[in-house]
């Protein structure tokens, strides 16, 4: 215990001296959730890259999916006297106290990728993607592509009850409203995984006359689409031609499928949340101008026309 205390104070001391030594440049603490998915690993990589490009000294803390670790990390960032803190909060509740501490220390906090249930004067801004909008972009692409022809759509939902599943479904349906030629004939959960995506697609194909009644597939994430593409191929159909495939996330593997003509479009959930966050922070520190409480990242649409192999090469190294 004594040793642990001594070690802790030594660390803080070391951190303090280090912090004051490099006071000239911007020091930003980043409390990441962990690395539960490829997307999050890519977010971590991109945040580090973005910080390096701007000459920001990024202090990185991996919370291993635990809120207590994030709170500890934020407290230690406050103790170190960083200029700003980025947090990707693991859960929505329980942040008021530590955010207040940061506010008292006059350190701006920016939320990445997820939001929290706390008064919005406790943080500077939140940089997130709009999940409903993502579904909307996918739906709009499909409506534009089939251009008035009748089209039966099957939908692979994410994990039942999860907010991406609910919102991406909602956005897609909004985009389809008013297009009477587009009908969602089957919708079932594929749990965001390749295995379930493949299994559920197999049953869709059986249920709809061997796939003859299906004109398009909408998957709430790329992994399910990749699984479903295999199921379509094994049923003797051509994914991308016989059945259009549109999904969300833009992970590297879907670009390989697009390059092979087996997937048609994907909507990017950008892992670059840090870029807009650093921009907002720079503006805030320069003129004291507070940004809007919510910065929406771009939900970019990629199709086969966007040189998928090139995007694949770019994304491959990000740790997806």
């Amino acid at each position: 215990m004594k040793f642990a205390k001594a070690l802790a104070s030594a660390t803080i001391l070391a951190a303090c001296t280090f912090g004051s030594a490099s006071a000239a440049e911007l020091v930003v603490g980043f409390s990441q959730i962990g690395s539960e998915s490829g997307w999050r690993a890519a977010e971590t990589t991109l945040t580090k890259q973005q910080a390096e490009q701007r000459g920001i000294d990024l202090k990185f803390a991996d919370a291993q999916q635990k809120q207590e670790n994030q709170i500890k990390a934020i407290r230690s960032f406050i103790a170190q006297g960083v200029n700003a803190i980025l947090v990707a909060p693991v859960v929505a509740t329980g942040w008021d106290e530590v955010l207040q501490e940061a506010k008292d220390a006059e350190i701006p906090v920016i939320l990445l990728d997820r939001t929290v249930d706390a008064s919005d004067d406790l943080y500077l801004t939140a940089v997130t993607s709009d999940l409903v909008h993502e579904g909307n972009v996918a739906g709009k692409w499909l409506a534009d592509t089939v251009a008035g022809k009748p089209c039966n759509v099957v939908e692979l939902q994410g994990t039942t009850g999860s907010s991406p599943a609910i919102d991406r479904k909602k956005g897609f349906e909004q985009a389809l409203a008013g297009h009477d030629n587009l009908k969602i004939i089957r919708s079932q959960t594929g749990d965001f995984t390749r295995t379930k995506g493949k299994e559920v697609m197999e049953s869709f194909l059986k249920a709809e006359g061997g796939g003859k009644n299906i004109c398009a597939l909408y998957a709430h994430n790329d992994d399910m689409a990749v699984g479903a593409i295999q199921a379509i191929k094994e049923a003797g159909l051509k994914p991308g031609k016989d059945i259009l495939v549109v999904s969300i996330d833009a992970v590297p593997d879907i670009f390989q499928a697009m390059a092979a003509g087996e997937a048609n479009a994907t909507v990017e959930l950008t892992p670059n949340m840090a870029g807009p966050a650093f921009d907002a922070l720079a503006a805030y520190l320069k003129d004291g101008k507070a940004p809007a409480k919510w910065i929406q990242t771009e939900s970019k649409l990629y199709t086969q026309a966007d040189d998928p192999m090139k995007v694949y090469e770019e994304k491959k190294g990000l740790g997806y």
Binding site: T193, V200, S203, K206, A207
Partner: protein, 341 residues
């Protein structure tokens, strides 16, 4: 021979009836369900999907049956699947031959089983705790192997195990059929099965009567690990990639459920591998039926749970006695009458 066959069928009767009832129920709601056709040189249809998609749980259930018969339980099989899938993917992508990859993967599975077995048999840790260790740690190990990504591969040989076909049947079905028959023959044509049951009924008494309890216990867990390794290879080959986060997730629970639906007691003792396989197929039939039915996904788990409760109630001895008493003047009713006299 006919009498042994008859007792065998009598043992499997509840499972066969349950399976038939589920298949009939699905084919009533979805008419094309029982259709089979030949496409690309293999059988194609929902029934084949059930056998094919059920492969991982069937394989896990085979190993789980033997472990449960020893009065144990193996919670780690789902995680071992993830580890083995990851090992297979990383070896095949680093240029090893298919044979090497498969042998090493199976060896890793057996090793995981041996770890569980040693904890249970030598260190005398309760099976649920001993296997919990690997259940929790396994996914971490798998992620270390894949480095946190979905490790994809293009080796045609490995992919063939997941989605190829042999004699008109998908490869996974061929694999579990052959493996299941081999294990069943091994335990039933030798005294192994009886010794395993003896350990399950009374471990101390078996040890005292000269059964090599620790060796058999470790072997049971190693078999379970081997089953998980095969299931892991199939799961990875199916999607052409090792998904450390999701491969085999919660499948240990489905495997235990399959054993229970198959009528093997969690308290150890008598077991039937064929009945567990049927149990696994029943679970998969329910899953496939739900997918075909077109219900909203919010109902999936509720429907599955309701059907399984129904099957378990049908199997409960009390229910059967009561049912026999009211319906047909069968054996159970007679015994009750005799008792009354």
């Amino acid at each position: 021979m006919t009498s042994t066959l008859r007792t065998y069928l009598a043992r499997l009767l509840p499972q066969l009836i349950a399976l038939a009832a589920i298949l009939i129920a699905i084919s009533m709601t979805f008419p094309g369900f029982l259709n089979l056709e030949i496409q690309n040189g293999r059988l194609y249809g929902s029934l084949i999907d059930i056998l094919n998609r059920g492969a991982p749980v069937v394989l896990l259930a085979i190993g789980m049956t033997v472990v449960i018969a020893t009065k144990g339980i193996d919670l780690s099989v789902g995680a071992v699947m993830a580890i083995c899938g990851a090992v297979a993917a990383s070896f095949i992508t680093s240029g090893h031959s298919l044979l090497e990859t498969i042998l090493i993967t199976l060896a890793v599975g057996v090793l995981c089983g041996m770890w569980n077995g040693i904890l249970v048999a030598v260190l005398d840790i309760q099976p649920i705790i001993a296997t919990l260790v690997l259940m929790v740690a396994g996914r971490g190990i798998a992620q270390l192997v894949t480095e946190g990504t979905i490790l994809t591969f293009n080796d045609p040989g490995l992919i063939f195990i997941g989605s190829g076909s042999f004699a008109g049947l998908p490869m996974p079905v061929v694999v579990w059929l052959v493996f299941g028959v081999l294990v069943a023959l091994l335990v039933r044509q030798s005294a192994l099965g009886m010794l395993i049951e003896a350990i399950g009924v009374n471990r101390r008494a078996s040890t005292l009567s000269g059964v090599l309890t620790p060796v058999l216990l470790i072997a049971a867990y190693m078999l379970s690990g081997l089953c998980a390794a095969i299931a892991g290879i199939i799961a990875a080959a199916d999607i052409r990639g090792a998904d450390a986060n999701n491969a085999g997730l919660w499948l240990e629970l489905d495997a235990i459920l399959a054993v229970v639906v198959g009528g093997t007691s969690l308290l150890g003792g008598r077991f039937s591998i064929a009945a567990s396989v049927l149990g696994a197929i029943i679970i998969q039939a329910i899953n496939t039926g739900i997918l075909l039915s077109g219900f909203p996904p919010e109902f999936n788990l509720i429907i599955k749970a309701a059907i399984i409760v129904f099957i378990l109630v049908l199997q409960s001895p009390r229910f059967r006695t009561a049912f026999a008493f009211f319906a047909v003047p069968g054996r159970a009713a007679k015994t009750t009458e005799q008792e009354a006299k």
